[in-house]
Symmetry: C2
Subunit: 229 residues, 2 copies
């Protein structure tokens, strides 16, 4: 109020929780920390905003993810800001966490060559040494992904450009940890008008499966009802 006090500035970082689903397992991209603090522990990919390179924080998140994976995610949204005096030993810190999705195959090849970035199954996280409060941030993010999956088709962003209903169903079931009626999914796909029926079908052990793809101009649709818990 009084005008020109000096106010100490907190550290501000941008971190991303990048999910994918592979082999019926929800995985998150983690990076082995090369520096202090938490050197050697696993942490979320992220870093400081660079006001010469980034037009906004979304760009920071994308840039840092591209550094680690060579790709930009299929989907990116803000999760939330976490802040406090004790979460970073260097002092009061403010982290903007993002939540992102990508198809496993998009980054798999590139990632294997980068020793320090790794897909970790979410269920294995508790066995690892993780940096800061990143485990809680991932848990928050997982809840958000689950919730959104109940009223949208967000999990398509974990699949390649062309995909089958069966693949989408499997990814959704992995995320919500419940079985899903194929019929319910097909009704939503039709009602959303977000997808195109490709002229190809692929083999999958039985009758050929229709391939679908996101329309170019598609916006993600939110349904009026949740899938039942």
């Amino acid at each position: 109020m009084a005008g020109h006090e000096i106010i100490k500035k907190p550290l501000f970082t941008v971190d991303s929780v990048l999910f994918t689903v592979h082999e019926d397992t929800l995985k998150v991209l983690m990076v082995k920390r090369a520096q202090q603090p938490f050197q050697g522990a696993w942490g979320l990919p992220g870093g400081f905003i660079d006001i010469d390179l980034d037009q906004n924080t979304d760009m920071t998140a994308r840039r840092k993810l591209a550094d680690k994976t060579g790709f930009t995610p299929n989907y990116l949204e803000q999760l939330q800001v976490i802040s406090g005096p004790d979460r970073d030993p260097r002092g009061f810190s403010v982290t903007l966490a993002y939540f992102a999705l990508v198809a496993h195959q998009s980054v798999a090849s590139h990632i294997d060559s980068v020793e320090m970035a790794c897909w970790i199954p979410v269920s294995k996280l508790k066995e690892l040494t993780t940096a800061f409060d990143h485990r809680q941030i991932i848990e928050l993010s997982r809840q958000r992904l689950k919730q959104k999956t109940l009223y949208s088709l967000l999990p398509v962003f974990c699949l390649p450009q062309k995909f089958t209903i069966g693949q989408l169903m499997a990814v959704i079931e992995t995320i919500i940890e419940k079985p899903l009626q194929r019929k319910s999914l097909m009704r939503r796909i039709e009602a959303s008008e977000m997808f195109e029926i490709s002229n190809e079908k692929i083999s999958s052990g039985g009758r050929l499966a229709q391939l679908y793809s996101l329309k170019l101009d598609a916006n993600i649709v939110n349904f009026e009802r949740n899938l039942s818990i």
Copy 2:
């Protein structure tokens, strides 16, 4: 990556969009700016985090709101971070916007004595000179409030501790800009188990109306379906 470059830090602020409903109108708390930039324009209450006073950004939002209104809001949640090089003439800035609700009567008396804080009807905003991108932030916030009102009973936080179904119905109708069936609201109130039936009733021009209040331990319930748009 390389280690110790000097990175210019962006300005980081916390602003709040505090809503209330009064006389069937959605209003937002605005403050006349005493200093540059945008001196004399209307802006959102907010300011810099003070790491000696605030345990986290929620506290910053509450503290700044208390400065203006003398009260802490009934409900507060993060909206989102907005950032960019051009939104503040002083340079690259990052703002964490909060979204908050309060009963009009809680702050009305105090506010009238503070010349510089004022409830502005959301519909009148375009006639005012507003600071930064605060008009867009308010619009975003309004959309979030509307959306949440479709699947929760959040608008109770715009009412006094004891309230009637009719009052809640009126507030909801103001927010969603649609009529609502009293029956639908009563079903939700019952199903949520969030409320207690008071032993008082109040007069309202006809039959006495039952007073309800939030249970002490009540968590806000999210319903499986939206009210219909």
